[in-house]
Structure formats: C-alpha cells, structure tokens
Symmetry: C3
Subunit: 217 residues, 3 copies
Amino acid sequence: MLSADLLGIFFFAVSGSLLAARKGFDIIGSLALAYMTGLGGGIVRDLIIDQGVPNVFVNTIYLLPPFLAAIAVYLMSTHLQKLRYFISLFDAGGLALFCITGTLVALEAGIEPIVAVLLGVATACGGGLLRDITANETPGLFNPRDLYAVPAFLGASVTVLLEMTGWFNLLTATITAVAVFVMRMLAVRFKWSAPLAVRGWSRPSLRLPRSRADNAK
Amino acid sequence: MLSADLLGIFFFAVSGSLLAARKGFDIIGSLALAYMTGLGGGIVRDLIIDQGVPNVFVNTIYLLPPFLAAIAVYLMSTHLQKLRYFISLFDAGGLALFCITGTLVALEAGIEPIVAVLLGVATACGGGLLRDITANETPGLFNPRDLYAVPAFLGASVTVLLEMTGWFNLLTATITAVAVFVMRMLAVRFKWSAPLAVRGWSRPSLRLPRSRADNAK
Amino acid sequence: MLSADLLGIFFFAVSGSLLAARKGFDIIGSLALAYMTGLGGGIVRDLIIDQGVPNVFVNTIYLLPPFLAAIAVYLMSTHLQKLRYFISLFDAGGLALFCITGTLVALEAGIEPIVAVLLGVATACGGGLLRDITANETPGLFNPRDLYAVPAFLGASVTVLLEMTGWFNLLTATITAVAVFVMRMLAVRFKWSAPLAVRGWSRPSLRLPRSRADNAK
C-alpha cells in the first residue's frame, strides 16, 4: 500500500506543478503546489483519524514524490495548450489511488465503514481542492459540467465492500483503481454531468454572464 | 445538546446547498458544500481540543443532516432572487446554535473561558468561512457593511457567563440562541456595520472601483 | 523563545490588519485577519506535531498580540499608498521569526531534521497563506516575481544546523532572523525571482492578459 500511496502522491503532485506552470508561477510555487496537492489530503485525513503525527512527517520518503514531480515538470517540454488535459490526467491518477488508500487507512483506524467511505472521498478530493483554492481557481470539484467526486465515491465504496467481504487484494485493488481512473477520464472527455443542485432549474437559465463565467475558469 | 448540534449542522448545510444552487453547481457540489459548511467548523474545533477522532467521524448520525439538506434544496421550488436572503436566514440559524455548542464543547474539554469564547466564535464562523472560500465568494465574515462575528461573539460570551454562574439550562440557552439569531437577521436587514479597520478613514474613500466590487460579490 | 513567538505573532497580525485596511474591511475583519494570520500557522503546526491542544489555546497570552495589532492599525494614521509596503515589512518580520520558532518546535517534538525544515517553512508561510486566501488575494507565496519561501527555507535550514551542532543560542538565532528579514526585504525591493516552473518557457510568453492579471492582484 505504501507504493500506491507514493504513486498517488506523485500523480497529484504533478497535477499541482502543472497548474503552477499554467498559472505562470515560478519553481518555488511549483514545489509548494506539488507538496500541497500531493500531501494535503493525506495530512487532513491523518489529523482526523488521530493516530499521532501524520505519516508524511514521520517517514521522510513521502517528501520525495512531490520533489521529483516538480523537477519532472521543470524539465518537460510541452505546450501550454495541452496542460489542462495533462492536469486532468495526473489528477485522475491521484484520485483513483487515494480513494482506495484513504478509505483503507480510515478502516484500519477503526472508523465506521460508511464514514470511512466519506473520509476516503475527502482524502481523494482534498488535495485537488487545496490546490485549486490556493491557486485561485474555481475547484474542479464544484464544476457543474464535470463529474469529479462520483468516481472517488464509487471507488471508496467498492474498497469498503472488498474489505468487508475479505476480497481485497492487489488484483481487486488494481481493477478498482483502473476503473475509477477510466470513469474519471471518460467524465472529462464526454463532459458527463450530474443533475443540478435544484430539480426544477434548467441548465441554461443558470448560466453565469459571460464575463463572470470566464473569470471563474 | 446533540439535537442543537444536529439542527445547527442542518441549518448551515442548507445555506451551503443554497449557495451551490445560486452558483449553478450540480447536486454533487450541493452535497459537498452541505457537508463542508455543516461539519467543517465542528471538525476544526474537535481537532483543536484534541479529544480523539472528531465526533462527526464517530457518530454516523452527524452524516444525516447535510444529506437531508441537499435533498431538501434539490426538491424546493424557489426563485433565484430569493436565494441570497434564504442563505442568510439558514446561516444565521447555524451561527446562533454553533456559537453556543462550540463554546460548551470547548469548556467541557477544559479550555480557559476566554479562549473558549474565541473557539466558539471560530466554530460558528468556520463553516460559513469554508463555504465562502471554497465557493470562491468573498467571505461574509469580512463584509464591511455587515455584522457577522459580533452576534456570535456575544452569544459565546453569554454562554460562558451562564456556565460559570450555573444558570445554563435549556431555557437560557434557547433565549441566547434566539437573541443571536434575531441580532444577526437585524444586522442583515438594516445593514448594521462596525467601524472600519482604520479610525481616520471614511467609508466612501475606501470604496472599491465598481467592476472590482461587483467581482468580489 | 516565547517572546520571539509573541513578537512574530504580532508582526504577522499587523500584516493581517493592514491587509484588512487596504481591502476596506471593518474592525471585525481586521481582528479576524489579525488572529488568523498571527495564530494560523502555529495552530496548523501544533495540530501536526500532535502535542495535545495547540499552545495558543492553552496560554491566554497568545491572544494579546493580535488584539494589540488590530488596535494599533486602527489608531495609526498612514496613507493607503504606503500600505502595500508596510504589509510586506511586518510580514517579513513574522516570516523571519516563525521559520526559526516553527523549526525549533518541530525538532523538540521529535520530528526528523529534514521534515522539521519543511514544517518550519510551512509554519512561516502558513499564516500569510491563510491571510491571502481568506482575503481573496493571490497568495504572495505564489507570486512569480517575488521570493517568499526561499528566505524561510534558508532560515529553517540554518536553525536545524545550529541545533544539531549545538551552536543555537540567542545570538545566532538573532543573526539568523535578521538575515532572513533582510533577504526577504531585498527580494521585495529588487523584485528577485526564481526560475519559472518550466525550464523552456520565457517569462513574457506566460504573461496573463492585462485584465486577468489585474484581477489576480
């Protein structure tokens, strides 16, 4: 599970550094967003389950993936146009791994299954939420034309079911992660969306005026 | 006190879901803001007073009010124009209950009275602050033409006084909550305001240019 | 070390109240930003190192500096034009003291030296980050034409080296704090900047369109 955690951290950290690149931040901003996105969700989860100092601050190996991510983004040679897509891609990788590891950690700490699902979703969505808020972006989580939390919710639920039935192993975990990743990327590709917050309202009537909508991007 | 806590969570959660409606978010965004607004302040308080895993993650009943709030908002049939007012209304209900329960929890954890007041205010204002920040709104807490923290501060102070004099009971607590709620709604209605951050400055000279002021709304 | 902590809190709190003044917030917003900026970074650090209730909520003396800061800003008679500079000045004072005290507290809690450096940087940058995020400003930390985290990183690293070699004392600590402060103010004065997040990109091509850049200020 450590390697899944480290890989998830790396994916999220790359998405943070890529966002720093897109916003024109410097290498320090890239490092800061890499650490915040990669480690933020897990730190919040560890604070909540109250098992002492969060893992990240005990085991120094956790400091490596965000550092490597910022270096990798620094050395890449891509075009600004493709960044939005790559951010989604790496973010989806982190989401797929974190909704599983986050849920597992919560279960192991003795959290109730149904709460463990929510905590897994919070871990998976937390890093990206912190990234978007600090970089002054409207959180992808709240985008009305996108499905972000649902794949994480399904992944966390399946993880709890697998754990409770004793079927959780490397194979089933990998299948779950891949399914969450694919579902998330399909949601990005085909602009899947959930019903609006209020039943009666049609989507167009809620559209923001052009200037404010651009602003919110 | 549990029922006051659950009711406060429900009120705050409704304000979160209504804000999601006003911003045109989908049902997932509505659920996310409901949970964040309803449970955010209490989670931060519980982390600080260090009494193990926050209540919300132990007792699954806490998961219900935000869920019901998002459903209720989904099923309602109101007009966009009235939303701003309803958000204030439910937010005031949460504020009135949380400044009391937040202060009580802090006192019971052995926090000094004067610090318990601040922690009560932080609990009461924390959920709404998280809601506004994540939804990319300028926090109501900082609005120079509104009085948000003062009713919470008075409610928390009265709660400490009632506890220390042994007069705290269902009746005095209810009176305090109603007084805080009424004071907050009067502040909204009559645009009560506190002095500015700097004595010498007059309000108009500080006015933001029109476009930026609209933007900050 | 308590006095250094209190002084750092006061400096950060003044920067928070000055920002409240610049944004046209009222005295309540000034108090709120003073407490958040002054105490936020330390609270997050104390939650992470898991030594019980954060110091700030145990020792009531910590409540004094932000209160005094908001009063001082209320009574001052300065011009709006100079505020940006004064905010940087007090912020630099807080940064210089917090990167040292934050690192020390982490080391004393038994955190690994290399992690203690990061936690010291997080403590030093955390208050200002919270201030900028809640006041709806783009965090100074991410400004591509400014060097904010680097002086804090050097200060935290020197603190760890001094502690490990046994050379940490009032004199060396003071020299470190002054050096961090001077380096930070030079960075502000001469607009020092780090390389961008991506190697190949030139600064001008990343420039945001005028309107959005102004907006992000």
